[in-house]
Amino acid sequence: MDNIKIKNYRQLKDIDFDFNNDMERNLHLFIAENGAGKSNFMNAINWCLYNDEPLLDKDSEELPILNLETIENESSPYEVSVEIDVKNKSGGTVRFSRCEKYKNNSESGDLDLLEKDFKVMIINEKEMNPKFLKGDEAEKYVNKFVPKRIREFFFFDGERLREYFVESKSRKLSKNTFEISQIDVIEDVESHLKKIGKDLSKEAGKEYPDIEKIRSKIDDNDIKTDETTNNLEACQKQLEISKKKINELNSYLDNVPNIDKEREKINEWQDEKENKEVQLNEKMIDKKDLLFNYNQIINSFSAFKNALKVIKNKRNNNEIPQNISLDLLNDSLSDNECQLCKQPLDEDAKNQIEFEKSRKQVSSESANILTSIEPMIKTMINNINDFNKENRKINRDIKNLEEDIDRLKDKIKKKDKLIRGFDNEEEITYKFDELDRHKAIQEQNIGKEAVFMNKLEELKEKEEILNEKLKNAMEKKDNLKEINKKHNFIGEAKKIILEVKETIMKKVKNEMELETNNKFFDFIWKDHTFDKIEIDDSYNLKFIHKGSGRKFFQSASSGEKLLLTIAFTLALHSVSGFHAPILIDNPVMRLAGDNRENIMRVLSEVSKDKQIILMLITNEYSDEVKKVVNSIECQQYKIKLDDEEKASNFTEVV
């Protein structure tokens, strides 16, 4: 861009700005407060070239396109115009100019459009007179500067950076890349050759029913192919919508709990807690019963212990005999054999038994009672040991249950607090339902996509077979010599054009990938993170992580994404041959500190070979930005509104 003249366009009442392209860097900065007309400068360029204003804010939408001061102070009719002078490859100038004339409607008070005009003037030094293009021809010529559909890679908004390479845009990206590489032209030739070939076979079919039969089968196959292609495209479009929606919902729901699911969880824990409380209650009853049952024995425990101790002492003092029955002793003596071990008795044993007999006969009645209650006391003490064991088990169970209940109470409390933190519960629940719905649609369409793709493959194979049959049938007819020649010629041309298309598509994609990588790694300030940039056949862009080989995009920093946008744009320029300038609105808005300086350095480097126009808001024009731009030769202008806030002026930053 060499010059831009703006008359009566919104705040830009009278601007005649020369871009100084002879400096060390072709870098131009415009700095403005909010509302001073920074975005409308971008809009003016878009309006001139494409007759629209993509960056118009809501306040401006309600205002007329005409400058307010002009409407107030000047008499009708009014004219709004924007003229852009661009240098072309051969050193000449191309002037794009759009203007609209309005007059006051005295009855309604509105402005009526009187006329509008868009023209392109081409001035070449070699030719005496300039060439004028108007209407469609002029509109078409704009596409040679920057095609409307890819303008967002030339005139872009740094603030909307996240949207540039999301997957849903990749199809648009590949379509546009192919368009600017003129693959669409090749596709037109391919389609037209097919139609001419069909015309020829139709002519042949008029005379020969067998040819007509094959031809009609080819027609049917074509109809099915078109239908399947349309279905596939609709399905892929739906997949794009689902992906976009899922991304949007995921980013909204990032860190937001799924209220319904969380509630379900709380209810689950609540049930579990109640269940544990019932179990605890039962255990407490068990413990109570146990204590009740063993109460008397427990209370007599020390008496039992003492009795055993007395028995033991008396036995040690030989005050009570061994706990053996008198009958057993008598039987042993009469049988001359021990009744316990069944061994014959010797003299010593007989004497010992006689001694025990005599002790038993002479021992007191109390000693005998003690001997008889000893086994019962021992049983009681064993019972007490059992009680201890059982009591320990119940206590352990109670402790575990109490801990479980406390843990569940804590979990419920935390989860409840988390849910209560999000007061728009209804909306969150709705978003989660939407997310599930879109995921289901996406899954369904992935299946459908595969079916359609397979069907297309089958139809393609069938088409080849039918074409071969048609060719053979036509060649058998002597009368069709001329038509056959043409048919074969068209067939040959079709084959070649298809090969050309496939080769160029591949080349364009590979070149785009190579150029994007070259530019990105020329400028990246920390190359240890990235191994390379990958562009797949569907034009999805991904960073490949050095070392792990992991593919990622969204987790890259804003600075890195902006650099990728710049690298991709430069690659697009280089591959497509479009050498238009790059205009960035709010280039460093989302960046801070070092990243601001890094990106400004990159843009400064790029501006050695390419015109870069940056529109910055005042707080973007920070020390980091100044550090870079004040060390090089470039243009810096401030856009300021006048006191009445109706017209803006450009003043050079000194």
Partner: protein, 65 residues
Amino acid sequence: MSDSRLNPRIFQVLKEKCDDEIVTEFLNDILITETDNDKGWWFREYYNDKLDEYIKKWSDNSEDG
């Protein structure tokens, strides 16, 4: 801004892919015309004219071959 209408890359690939000079010329002619004109009704007449023009040369060539 580029003044060229057909991207030179297309012609270059066309030359690489096609050994037949007449088919190459025919395709080059129609590619240039397609680049300069909008999609529309004109193509049938134009393609048939070009086909008539090139088929003669092609036949002569085939017969010579």
